[in-house]
């Protein structure tokens, strides 16, 4: 595994990513579950439908500082911390264009499929979308559990699409299942991580950057450095 993959894998080794994502999935699951219970077009249904996007955006935005805080408290004292290099602006623009293009194609396929496929396309596309994101993240980082999450999401979306359940119920089951899965796996990974990595105190005052290192390579006969 090269240095960059190892550095990316470092981010996922503690399970905190999954733990902080799971409330978002739970919120989505309960939202769709609530929709199945409310009559379409009722005042509560309208309020929830209109306010939910804002609530979910707020929840997503709040998970990032929470994740950083947990990383500082739990991960950094055990295995250290890294800052990743930002990709160039042109690369970021190209990536966004590629994602936009892929989403556009997916929407086109979904629209066409709506009229032709014999099953619920919404849940199928949702599972496929989530699955591909996880598979890609797993491939980038060589973290196998992310690839497994991706496969589970794709298979889950496909199987739920065949059940014949109405859209909201299938989505509720999908997100609640996925939330439980990420929370449980995240907690297991976190417990293993904490057990395997005790806190290590490194006081910069104790570090001597002026000492002579033990050279693995002996200097050459003519004096070396």
């Amino acid at each position: 595994m090269d240095s960059l993959r190892r550095a990316y894998a470092h981010w996922y080794q503690d399970g905190l990513g999954e733990i902080t994502q799971s409330p978002v999935f739970f919120a989505l699951g309960f939202y769709y579950l609530l929709l199945t219970r409310l009559p379409d077009g009722s005042p509560l249904w309208i309020i929830i439908t209109l306010t939910f996007p804002l609530a979910i955006i707020g929840l997503v935005l709040s998970t990032r500082p929470l994740l950083r805080l947990l990383k500082v408290r739990i991960t950094a004292p055990r295995v250290g911390t890294v800052t990743y290099r930002k990709s160039s602006q042109s690369k970021r623009v190209l990536t966004r264009l590629a994602i936009g293009l892929l989403l556009g194609i997916a929407l086109q396929v979904a629209s066409a499929a709506y009229f032709t496929w014999p099953f619920d396309w919404t849940i199928f596309i949702t599972g496929l979308g989530f699955g591909l994101i996880y598979v890609y993240a797993g491939y980038r980082t060589s973290v196998w559990r992310l690839i497994i999450f991706g496969i589970v999401a794709i298979l889950g979306g496909f199987l739920l699409s065949l059940t014949g359940w109405e859209g909201s119920l299938a989505l509720a089951v999908f997100f609640l299942f996925f939330a439980s899965l990420t929370l449980i796996i995240g907690l297991i990974i976190l417990v293993i991580f904490i057990r395997q990595h005790p806190v290590i105190a490194v006081d910069p005052a104790e570090l001597d950057f002026t000492g002579e290192p033990e050279e693995i390579l002996e200097d050459s006969a003519d004096g070396g450095e």
Binding site: A76, R78, G80, V82, K86, V202, E225
Partner: protein, 111 residues
Amino acid sequence: MAENELRTLLEIDRLIHEPARLLLVNILYVLESADFLYLLNETGLTRGNLSSHLGKLEEGGYLTIEKTYSGKTPLTILHISAAGRAAYEAYSQQIRLGLLPETARGKGPKK
């Protein structure tokens, strides 16, 4: 392989060529920064040896060492410098030119 390409091996940067320092530069090259503990875990070196190698690289102008705090916890953060990046790229190029056949040289270190 041309003779002058082989001779590039004589000119490689010995500060980077030392395995422990090569590993350190290789790790820092792909990152914006890393702290001492991360490098300690990744390299498996002892604290004393790691800090000495980092000191050598700092002395050569290849990295900067920043001593700061995360809350109340002291933190030592290492950044590779532009000179360090350039030296690592030149080193990779020289090793490829000197050791690898033309067909297997690739483009350079992964950024």
